[in-house]
Symmetry: C2
């Protein structure tokens, strides 16, 4: 095994920082426009980040260009850490957040598109910092697209090679420093959807500032809002909420399918196994929860969120059911109602969605629908195999045979996911959380959902956690976002042995 | 595929019923001794069961002797249902339990060695019926031994072929109606341990009736007690509790190891990978919880159980920690203290044990230590493989290479286990449970533990459940006990297609 190419890793970290600093400077005009004193802090953070990035890149720009797998893992893991360290500067240098663990938590929650927050009064945060906060989501979403489409399949992590088999653009079996054509096309779709949602939200009645922030937080399935009440702030404006429901659903679907749809190949969408189940699951759970909250809401459970019903109880029930289901299933985490206050069945249904997640090739987190589809098909097959041990039968996905290696990868992924979930519950109670909050926070952070249950329910936030719990949750958000293996592998002794 | 051999299945069900009726008649002397009116009901139940069994056997005694795999599944599944239907008669015919769902729940809880109860005042139940209740545990334990050692490995379920590779006695690759030599040897050990524990408990101060019942409920890892307070009734008698801790630990270890130990090959025990982890886990969690409850118990959480401290707080803390840890890890479910009242970390630690379970080849339920060992070893290996894709490395267990097929079986088992756990939580909230009780009951019933959390904590019982929830829990206990596949396979369309 060759040694690590530290120079090229450093040059990548430099480029990443420069890009990050550029987005900080984009936040600057918002601060100027609102005459905020925070503008100095944001400008300093941006210039500092760009400078550090430039120096890192400049002194390593002549690095040998050969990148091996191990360099790839380090680039991804260290890249996210570099984003986090520099990305926390706008919070710290404007005084918006003064504690270091708090800043780390909020920053990783942003980039990982989790959207859990330690801020208790979001509306008092300077607009420039709020824009930066939404920008971390949007950058994170870009990072996930390149990771999922260009890097994870090459590394063969958790069966990801399967789901992007049809991805457009050049396919290569070498890890290549150039961001592939595929990623660029998907970024264009990501950008266009964000822009269209922004326009629609503005037309529906949001301010342009709220519209741009919510559009960025939707397409990245992030979930940071500019309002303390999240999207419940617009409970008197159903159009705003239906627009967000629609774009959350799109953000939770495979971007490769959106690419085909835009090319006119709409049939590709409905022939896609994962999309079919994603769609049916959304419809089924939405209808179930509509019925539950319209006719069976537990009167003992009172919500603190105001719910005007401009079009009656049925529309309101359907809208809030659809909003929460799509928000949690796509792991966006926007809130229009407190689902923990409906009834126990609704809570259990919503919590089970924490473990599903959106589609592969989207910006959503969690286990992903396709992995569940394959796991369930494989389970049925295992039962069949008990009866016909010699029959040659295999799991089929989108019309093709799925290899045993990929199924093995997927099963291993889920097993590790659940073991980390159970172990993290124990760790979080050790770090001071009560049991219900601990195990739901563990599932929520690992799946990059955002809200949890108990003291971390949709109307609460993560401010009351101990510093240790905040840092551990940050770690969970990071490994969840990077599909576990990318980070875990760097933490094994094997990784460092040959250096 | 050949048709099912219904005649031989019926003759097995007949033999099972006769054996069951024989144990009912064994309960009869206890009722006579205490001059109970229940004696008529028990006698009638016993005679009825024996008669039904005799008729079933008599008219099918000349059945063709060839048994195929599919017959095997049906014999196991229907055998347990037959036990349940006849086994509920002593409750119903003595009037101890009057509702049919209640009787089914208590009976399946007995045979599955779960030990969850719908009885609210155990001490008012006639002694003959109490003995019968403990006998269902003991019969269930016998069933599990034959299932694990003689049947599951042949059916290749969940990697069970691996753990009994060293089992003594003739090994055959054909499903054979004769109960193997192996099972007989292990039954002898099971019986001897029960008898020794009975003697020790009597010496330590239990009445002979309590001693025999607790011995049967210990070796089967069942957990039914004759006292409302369970083993907390003997909180002033540490010897009784240490004896039970010791035998619970033995009951949760592989009986094949006990066989070798009795043959003088003690080194086999400490060379066994599963035993090592089982032992270390017990010690580690016991010490952690001792520290927690002696020095960090949350004063806000008050327990209703009386805790005299005859040898001081440290001994008492250690004893209750060890008791609860061994009781939950081995899925026995006896109670000397309410672990949900210690603190949140202790609750989380104890709850995570729900998913581990004892050793394969024991009477304990749950996922089993060995599956976790293999899953964790495989996860480490998957990480290693990412770095060395071409290296030929494989999971090793007890010094040998574990085949990919077995690992695949184990991963599939765990995935199905967790999916059923999550789905059952939703179903149980639908059937009226609150969220915390639902998801803990789901884990407890599936793992055959007994106590759960919330309204089903160790000081509560399952009486308040709706009939639907009781029947669903019964189903969970049954499929958990039969290692999922045995029952699930009978529920697939594949199973019935060729008939
Ligand atoms: K999110
Ligand atoms: K039990």
């Amino acid at each position: 095994m060759k040694g690590l190419n530290f120079k090229i890793i450093a040059s990548f970290l430099g480029l990443t920082s420069m890009m990050n600093g550029f987005f900080m400077l984009l936040s600057e005009p918002f601060s100027w426009y609102y005459h905020e004193t925070a503008s100095t802090g944001i400008l300093s953070a941006g210039l500092l980040t760009i400078s550090v990035g430039f120096l890192l890149w400049f002194f390593n720009r002549n690095a040998p260009k050969d990148i091996h797998k191990r360099d790839g893992y380090l680039i991804v893991t260290l890249g996210w850490l570099m984003l986090t360290l520099t990305g926390s500067l706008p919070y710290l240098m404007t005084g918006t957040i003064t504690s270091f663990p708090d800043a780390i938590f909020e920053t990783i929650s942003g980039y990982s598109t989790t959207g859990a927050s330690i801020l208790t009064d979001i509306e008092s945060v300077p607009k420039g910092v709020l824009f930066w906060r939404s920008a971390t989501h949007w950058i994170g979403g870009m990072g996930i697209i390149v990771l999922t489409v260009a890097i994870l399949p090459l590394l063969g992590i958790g069966g990801m090679q399967l789901f992007v088999a049809e991805a457009p653009g050049p396919s290569t079996d070498k890890l290549h420093p150039r961001i592939t054509q595929t990623a660029k096309r998907l970024w264009l779709i990501y950008f266009s959807f964000t822009f269209i949602e922004f326009l629609l939200l503005k037309i529906a009645g949001m301010t342009w500032f709220d519209a741009i922030n919510h559009a960025m937080a939707t397409l990245s399935t992030g979930g940071f809002s500019t309002k303390n009440a999240s999207v419940a702030y617009w409970n008197d404006n159903p159009f705003v909420q239906y627009i967000i429901i629609g774009f959350m659903f799109v953000a939770g679907a495979n971007f490769v399918l959106s690419y085909f749809a835009l090319k006119g190949k709409v049939s590709k969408i409905f022939n896609d196994d994962e999309f079919k189940y994603y769609f049916l699951l959304t419809v089924f759970v939405t209808i179930s929860i509509t019925v539950l909250i319209v006719w069976f809401q537990d009167p003992a459970l009172q919500t603190t969120i105001h719910h005007p019903m401009p079009y009656g109880a049925l529309e309101s029930g359907f809208r809030h059911a659809a909003f929460q289901v799509v928000s949690v299933l796509t792991t966006t985490g926007f809130v229009s109602a407190d689902f923990t206050m409906w009834n126990y069945l609704a809570t259990a249904l919503m919590f089970s969605l924490f473990f599903i997640g959106g589609s592969a090739g989207s910006t959503s987190g969690g286990v992903k629908v396709v992995r569940h589809v394959i796991m369930i098909k494989n389970s049925m097959l295992e039962l069949k195999k008990q009866l016909h041990p010699k029959a040659i039968i295999s799991v089929r996905y989108n019309g093709s045979r799925v290899s045993r290696v990929i199924i093995f990868n997927i099963l291993s992924f889920f097993v590790i996911y659940m073991l980390i979930f159970i172990l993290s519950t124990v760790v979080l109670t050790f770090l001071g959380l009560d049991f219900l909050s601990a195990f739901s926070a563990s599932a929520s952070c690992l799946g990059n959902v955002g809200p949890a249950l108990g003291s971390l329910s949709p109307v609460n936030n993560f401010a009351h956690l101990t510093d240790g719990a905040k840092l551990f949750c940050s770690f969970l958000m990071l490994i969840g976002r990077l599909e576990l293996f990318t980070v875990l592998i760097v933490l094994t002794p094997y990784f460092w042995k040959s250096n």
